[in-house]
Amino acid sequence: MWKISKFILFVLSIVAWEVAIRPFLPSIWSNLNLSLIVLIIIGFVYSVELATVNALFFGFLFDLYSVLPFGTILLTYGLTFFLLNRLFYKFLTNKSLYSFIGMTGLVTLLFSSWQYCYLIIHFFYNKKEDILWTEFSRQFAVGFLWQLGLNCLFGLFFFVLLNYFSRRFKAVYIDTIKN
């Protein structure tokens, strides 16, 4: 029961952050994507599979508060963590700080790429003006760089914090042969 309550509280906090706090933060800080960082931490501490399941659930919930057709955000989160799952087994084989930062950067890049694709389609569908595309792309690129920096910075902060309080972050090698 305690576990379920903890999970509900956790999910509600993330949704509240994404809907009610993050969009209203001063421009630079609104680029911080806390839900991605949290999902990466789940992937690191528990398993990437669990992070993917959580990502799908978050995607579904964020879709409830979106203008775009149902499934857009769900697919964005799903595809990002689906690919991360693959990359995690192929390349990111340990739980070091470098691996964590690499994963954060990669997830931010993948997530922003999907996001850019659907937003540009959305713009094309609604307003066929070239100048809007270029201006939007410029703003998106700036936002992406900020997001990359902030996500890595906050990821680093959480990594150090969790490493201090928990043993789950200690560097180990994942044995991929036994599977």
Binding site: L12, V15, A16, W17, E18, V19, A20, I21, P23, F24, E49, T52, L56, F60, L61, F62, D63, L64, Y65, S66, V67, L68, F70, G71, T72, I73, L74, L75, G78, F82, N85, R86, Y89, K90, Q115, Y118, L119, H122, F123, N126, K127, L132, E135, F136, Q139, T176, N179
Partner: protein, 268 residues
Amino acid sequence: MPLPKKYTKFSVVVVASLSLLFFLYWLGLLNPVRDFFVFLTKPVVSKVYSFSNWVGDGYLNLKSKKELSAENKVLKEELSLLIKEKSQFLTEKEENTFLRDQLQYKNNERFSPLIAKIIGKVTDESQNALIIDRGLQDNLRIGLPVLGENNYLIGKIIKVEQKIAIVLLLNDDLSKISVKIQNQKNIIGVLQGEFGLGLTIKMIPMTQLLKEGDIVVTSGQETTIPENLLIGQIKSYKTSPEDLFQEATVGSLIDFNNITVVNVLQPK
């Protein structure tokens, strides 16, 4: 290195779950689930939004004391002008009432306001759009105008769900609304958002004379939006002799990042 079996199994499960979700949505069977999750998350999101707004207000109050005193000076000057205008308005109102009585004019108010609370902003980052706590169950529909503080128009509804609706703000670059500039000629134009930063009216013929301070209101050309809803004032305008059209920047008194309660105008 081959991928572990666990990964392949998991991938199949994920793809199957996603396909099932889309299929259920397509059949409309997912709607009760979505309503349940909105029901579950809405009160928390709403409370957190109010709290964050309260914190933000406190911070701004501290930060902007100097700005406020400068603004106060300007506002006092504007107030004295407005008092003069009010006196003129009252005289004209008296005349108007008399003439209406003479013509037995019927008050034909077509819209009634419905109060709604803002609970947050959309999560997809595609638009400057707010989420309100009213939806289909309150008979809201797409296109209805939404008013903010002092009955200024802030946007219109673009999406309606059972328990929530999404309001596209006027300053979004996908927002377009037919407006009228209240001066001697009542110029009609289209007000557009500028990347969430401001409002402009484009394609105003060069023959039309604009001046700073002209009031901008809705034109009433859209069926769901009544005319004369206040939007703002002309802040500045760009003209150059070689152009056929001029462009005006509109200033609104509304702080689009700090809206807590709105009025949705519904047809009676």
